[in-house]
């Protein structure tokens, strides 16, 4: 769940991060509000930034500078209609323009392979960090830390110092990085990024731009804070607006509390996926692609979804134009009933007017109640396999069947 920049900065402000002066204006009366904001900030040069849940604002023309009230009004009017990667402007953040001496980059995120948070720091901020890592690897440090053991400022100092930053700059930067680490852990974030983190000409450091992604499952835990920011429960806050297909998937999941059959992400392939279980979704999605298949969707099922929930998800996936077959695959399941999922996908096919034997390319869900499930699949002539067939091979069988 992504935050707008002004929300990220509100979070930073609450934790004592150094920020420039700024104010948010609505897009409905942008020109007049921009003039007022310009005056409120003291009539100094300002930067106006469209509030969208996407990067690439500068390139798209959604960030503009203004030295006068007239320029601020013009800039605000110009920014409002600009679409950035499919995202429309929610509001405009007007901030004082800061005289920058140097830009830094710092981000805290999860390293899935190390299974720990990692701090990525660079003394070459303001530009694409991947590019810096490729062209100037010595200017990028990656420092892992524990999410369980107590966090100490030393780890932040190491992260900054590893890029060659020393002296006063090191002493000023380390507390900011340390603070960001604490924010990352406290709010169950998946990304806490400051880019650029600017050193001003007078030697101060301030946060110029911030990106915050919160783990969607943690929304309940931080509801009070999200309410204070005005973030509604039904705001998905994805990097792009959800498609009607994805919204329909969320509706299927929300309609029945039993288990999970949702988190649908739309792709443009022809193989529908009903997948899940303990990381199985990602593994299976990748396996399908590795075999040359084109997934029509990503999804997650698990936690023993009811027959009707699985059925509705199946029908939704089959309703997607271009979907010829579905592959029903999971890791070995202990808390999901194989027979209930089998019933759901078969009934989904039948209600969609399709022959389950023709439509289900493969059913590979080993685990609880599998004997009962396999009986059902046999009755309807569905091709299935047990745990002796790996997830990777099952995905291969599905792709091969689709290719004919």
């Amino acid at each position: 769940m992504r935050f707008y920049e002004y929300e990220a900065k509100e979070l930073f402000k609450r934790h004592g991060m150094p920020l420039g002066k700024g104010t948010v204006i609505a897009k409905t009366n942008a020109a007049a509000d921009a003039r007022a904001a310009f005056a409120k900030l003291g009539g100094i040069p300002v930067v106006l930034k469209s509030q969208v849940l996407s990067g690439g604002r500068m390139k798209a023309g959604a960030v503009k500078f203004a030295d006068t009230a007239d320029e601020a009004a013009d800039a605000a009017e110009a920014i409002v209609p600009v679409e950035v990667n499919g995202q429309i402007c929610k509001s405009i953040l007007v901030e004082e323009k800061s005289p920058i001496a140097q830009e830094y980059f710092v981000a805290i995120t999860w390293d899935g392979r190390a299974k720990r948070p990692v701090c990525v720091f660079s003394d070459m901020g303001g530009i694409d960090i991947e590019e810096v890592a490729e062209t100037h690897p010595e200017h990028v440090s990656k420092t892992h830390f524990s999410s369980i053991l107590p966090l100490t400022p030393r780890i932040a100092k190491e992260a900054v110092g590893a890029t060659g930053v020393t002296g006063s700059d090191l002493n000023k930067l380390a507390p900011i990085v340390f603070n960001l680490m604490k924010i990352f852990l406290k709010y169950d974030l998946t990304l806490a990024e400051i880019n650029p983190l600017a050193k001003l000409e007078d030697g101060r450091f301030i946060v110029l731009d911030g990106h915050i992604d919160m783990e969607a499952e943690a929304r309940g835990e931080h509801k009070a804070f999200l309410d204070e920011l005005g973030i509604d429960d039904d705001e998905t806050r994805l990097a792009r607006p959800p498609t009607p297909f994805e919204l329909a998937g969320a509706k299927v999941n929300a309609a029945d509390h039993r288990g999970v059959a949702g988190n649908v992400v739309e792709f443009d392939g022809n193989l529908g996926l009903v997948i899940g279980a303990g990381g199985g979704s990602l593994t299976l999605f990748d396996a399908v692609r590795n075999h040359g298949g084109k997934p029509a969707n990503y999804c997650e099922i698990g936690g023993n979804p009811s027959m009707s929930k699985t059925k509705e998800l199946t029908k939704l996936i089959l309703s997607k134009p271009g979907v010829e077959k579905i592959a029903v695959m999971m890791n070995v399941v202990s808390n999901t009933r194989v027979d209930i999922v089998a019933r759901g996908v078969i009934k989904g096919c039948l209600e969609a007017g399709k022959d389950p034997a023709e439509t289900i390319a493969i059913f590979r869900i080993p685990g609880a109640w599998e004997e009962e499930g396999f009986k059902i699949l046999e009755k309807y002539g569905v091709d299935y396999c047990d745990r002796s067939v790996s997830m990777y091979d099952a995905a291969g069988r599905a792709v091969a069947k689709l290719k004919g």
Binding site: S306, S308, R337, D339, K375, I376
Partner: protein, 73 residues
Amino acid sequence: MPGEFIDVIVDADIAKDAELAKKLEEICPVSIFAASADGVSIDESNLDECVLCDLCLQAAPKGKIQIVKLYDQ
């Protein structure tokens, strides 16, 4: 009408037992049974939700309720 996978047959002897009907409604985790003053009725739309827990079989006199797995036939 049976479900696609499951049918539940309640013997006529117990179908009008209002007390048993209440009990069946209470214990079924997927709301297959509905109780009324006239006894028990089956919500056909929920038949395929049956999780084969057998709680209804235990609540009713032996042999008076049958869970039929239609895919076994």
